[in-house]
Amino acid sequence: MHEPVIGLEVHVQLATESKLFCGCPAAFGALPNSQTCPVCLGLPGVLPVLNQRAFEWGIKVALAFDCELADSMKFDRKQYYYPDLPKNYQISQYDRPLARAGHLDIPAGEGTKRIGITRVHMEEDAGKLLHDPQQPHSYVDFNRAGVPLLEIVSEPDLRSPEEAYQYLVELKSVLRYLDVSTCNMEEGSLRCDANISVRPAGGAALGTKVEIKNLNSFKFVRAALEFEAVRQTGALKEGWRIVQETRLWNTKTQHTEPMRSKEGASDYRYFPEPDLVPFGIERSVVDRLRRELPELPAQRRARYTAQYGLSAYDAHVLTQHRRIAELFEQTVSLYAKPKPVANWMMGGLLAYCNAKGKEPDEVAVQPAWLVHLLQAVDAGTISGTMAKELFVEAIEQQQDPQQIIAARGLSQIVDDGVLGPIADAVIAEHPKSVQDYRKGKHNALMFLVGQCMRRSEGKANPTQVTELLKQKLHQQGQEVTG
């Protein structure tokens, strides 16, 4: 038996307004080179000045992973030539990263598994090359150059592609809770490289690792790791040797393929960035940022099972998105039945998000809306099916479902004062069915209920009408026989 040993390197763009070392906007999607200045273009003579907010957000992330923070902030230059790198060096951190030795607890069965975080460091992003196959040259867009990045490196603690997937989900969840990144893989604000080796299960020594790149979604990460685990295990069983290399995930073939090897080993010639003097990380700043940390998913999960009696699964699903969790709690504070609220969050809101391909943050929902729907179902005013339809309408029209119910007259008639005369009229009009019912034909009752529904234009509450009809038929029967 072989087991895979996996570690992940994640790059996260911080969603600060400006870039890491200049005042240019860091937003995604602007016209090429419209968000640049002499500093992020690396023109001669200009100097970097650290974005204080990015620095603080880096500390927040490190604290969320329970890392050991460095005493001081020191940057280094990582040197290599590429046209998207304006200075031909990247301002990064080498021997003294912002933080080390943290961890992230990921859900595993009913419990959790602790995954070590080796280091978290801060660096600037590079620009982007744009290739037009119709033209003999390439273009460079420097909008991304200088956008703040955090590199988060895990220990090789992951033992399956599924764990790697769970790690990424949890990592993204934490970063979204902290509100420091959009974590959007399509826009490149979260990028992941995976390292994987295989070894005899339970062994202590590590096998030769392979790095996988071009992983543009969490699902690709899992699929590529699954492919690679099988490939490497198969190779070892055949008695072959694994070559240390970088492989690319090919989404079309669903295979990893060797990347063309670089000429010679890369030597980045790191040395301390002389344009940025190292400065001490102040205790008071760290304490303030620690106080500002929100309750994180893992803590929230534990509380949900304890406080609300939810299952580990429910607690996990509810806490994955901060917005969902907050909405859940607000709703429960107004409507104290956690399990139905949880079901609505998952079956209603999350299902809606999945169907529309939206993030929960992109969907505006008021807790009062949910409360009104739940109360209306409880009161029998509307059916569960109608509640679900109304929920979608409420979101899309941004309106309280209560108002929609009122405006459209959609509510079911539950008032016996209204239903009574309808039932009386139906009984009077269908003596044959009344007789059939009395003879014990159950279908006759269903027919009468249907007639009541028709007469009420579908608004009558069917359960209530059934009860009412039975009651009235029973009374009449007594009068007839009596």
Binding site: P38, P44, G45, V46, P83, L129, R269, F271
Partner: protein, 492 residues
């Protein structure tokens, strides 16, 4: 004419700045072809700039006064090129902070004082545009790398100038040309807009005809700058106020390590005479030790080249400056041959764009930062740097300023050291420790050789003790007349 004299004349209405500029341009037209202090002068642009200054410029401390700028300090919309081919056509869309500060005082900036390419040199011979000559003897070098600035000031082709100093590039040419040059404390003057050679060593400073001008220019350009994280949050004192104060009772240190074999006897004697003058002014001489001096040159050439190799990496032909012909085809990765055209463009652009000294330093710097050599060279260099700093800390506990020669010799002949880089590096032997330690130092004339070449002495002080330097230098200047002597070329 000095800056302070011209300032008084303009403020007193005795002098029209337009006439001053015209006379200056006339002298430049006459002498620059031979001396080559400026790479290029555009009289009409300068006249227009002056006109603009006179009409709209602030009536500050440099109102209507032209200040010459070394070719590595960015002036918005002016060619700024470090005397290198690789920056051909580069016009910065921004001013260096020092330029903004000069303009805020009403000055006119005069671009493109010649220099060693990227400030790599001690003779201004490595300029892509050809060497500058020493006005005292045009067969000799003016020193470097700020040779254009120093020559311009000495030959009266400038009223005052800005230079930059990474290992002596202000002080050594000031000494060779018989003028005053100051390397301020690291962090005293913003480096924003200074095209970097070695970021942890570079400082911009004045080159002037006398100490008073030097104090005036420093007071204009000094101060913290939010755009330069290495600029110091230290208040700028009133430098001119330190002039004219008695030096009686102050101590000057003389380090024995600076009077060793290899020093020209004429230089040693001149500095010894200066020491006697300082004693006559009431200062007390103390012997100090700077024991790590012998390691300074090695440490300097490791740290400075390491930083330079990195700072110069950006000159690749992609965005601006020189690009090798046919180097514009940039193939997408994955095409064949793999990125061949891109690497070809890098190689050819840099091979054709940089001169031999720049290439030498890039290779040295790349080597000392390479895997397996970093600890042996760069880290060791940093350790030596710390020790040198400590030497000075200890020395300044015993004295207020330190007196040394600026350079072991007076100006050497053109071509004399061009083929011997090590010999060239050693001409900075007395100046580079100052940059490693980050302390301020001023070079000023203290005599002449028998063949009438200026000799410079250097005064060093503790960090941010520039007022002390000005106080002692001014007292010495008042007691001597070296600064009043001008090269024959400046007289006709």
């Amino acid at each position: 004419m000095t800056i302070h004299e011209l300032r008084a004349a303009i403020e007193g209405g005795r002098c029209d700045p337009r006439q001053v500029l015209d006379e200056l341009l006339e002298r430049i037209a006459q002498h620059n072809p031979r001396l080559h202090a400026y790479i290029r002068v555009e009289p009409e642009r300068l006249r227009a700039a002056l006109q603009e200054r006179l009409q709209r410029g602030p009536r500050g401390r440099l109102f209507g006064i032209p200040i010459t700028i070394k070719d590595n300090i960015c002036i918005q919309d002016e060619d700024t090129g470090c005397s290198s081919r690789i920056l051909t056509g580069f016009r910065p869309p921004y001013h260096a902070t020092v330029i903004e500060r000069l303009l805020a005082e009403g000055a006119v900036v005069m671009p493109r004082a010649n220099m060693d390419e990227f400030a790599f040199g001690s003779s201004t011979e490595s300029s892509h545009f050809g060497p500058t000559r020493n006005p005292w003897d045009p067969d000799r070098v003016p020193g470097g790398s700020s040779g254009g600035s120093a020559t311009a000031v000495a030959a009266d082709l400038a009223l005052g100038a800005l230079g930059t100093d990474t290992g002596g590039s202000i002080r050594q040419p000031a000494a060779f040309c018989g003028v005053v040059g100051l390397k301020p404390t690291y962090g005293r003057v913003s480096r924003y807009g200074l095209i970097a050679f070695a970021s942890s060593l570079d400082q911009i400073g004045p080159i002037t005809k006398d100490v008073q001008d030097c104090a005036l220019l420093l007071s204009v350009i000094a101060g913290q700058d939010p755009r330069d994280s290495t600029s110091a949050p230290v208040e700028v004192p009133d430098y001119p106020a330190s002039l004219g104060q008695s030096v009686s009772g102050l101590r000057f240190g003389v380090p024995k390590e600076y009077f060793v074999e290899g020093i020209d006897p004429e230089v040693r004697d001149a500095v010894e005479q200066a020491a006697k003058t300082l004693e006559r002014l009431g200062m007390r001489r103390v012997e100090v030790g700077l024991p790590h001096t012998p390691y300074a040159v090695a440490a300097y050439y490791i740290i400075a080249t390491a930083e330079a190799s990195s700072n110069l990496a950006r000159y690749d032909g992609v965005q601006y400056g020189y690009r090798a012909a046919n180097g514009s085809r940039l193939q997408a990765p994955g095409s064949r041959p793999p990125q061949g055209d891109l690497i070809e463009m890098y190689l050819r652009t840099r091979a054709e764009g940089f001169g031999p000294e720049a290439k030498r330093r890039i290779m040295l710097g790349t080597y000392v930062l390479s895997r397996g050599y970093y600890e042996a060279y760069y880290l060791k260099g940093l350790k030596v740097r710390t020790l040198i700093k400590r030497d000075f800390d200890e020395a300044f506990e015993r004295c207020d300023v330190i007196l040394t020669p600026t350079s072991p010799t007076a100006a050497f002949r053109l071509g004399e050291k061009l083929d011997n880089p090590l010999q060239m590096y050693l001409s900075d032997i007395f100046t580079i420790s100052v940059n490693l330690a980050g302390i301020p130092a001023l070079s000023m004339p203290c005599g002449f050789t028998a063949s009438k070449l200026p000799i410079g002495m250097q005064l060093l002080a503790a960090p941010f003790q520039e007022p002390r330097l000005f106080q002692v230098a001014h007292a010495y200047e008042q007691a001597t007349d070296w600064h009043r002597q001008t090269p024959a070329i400046a007289l006709n």
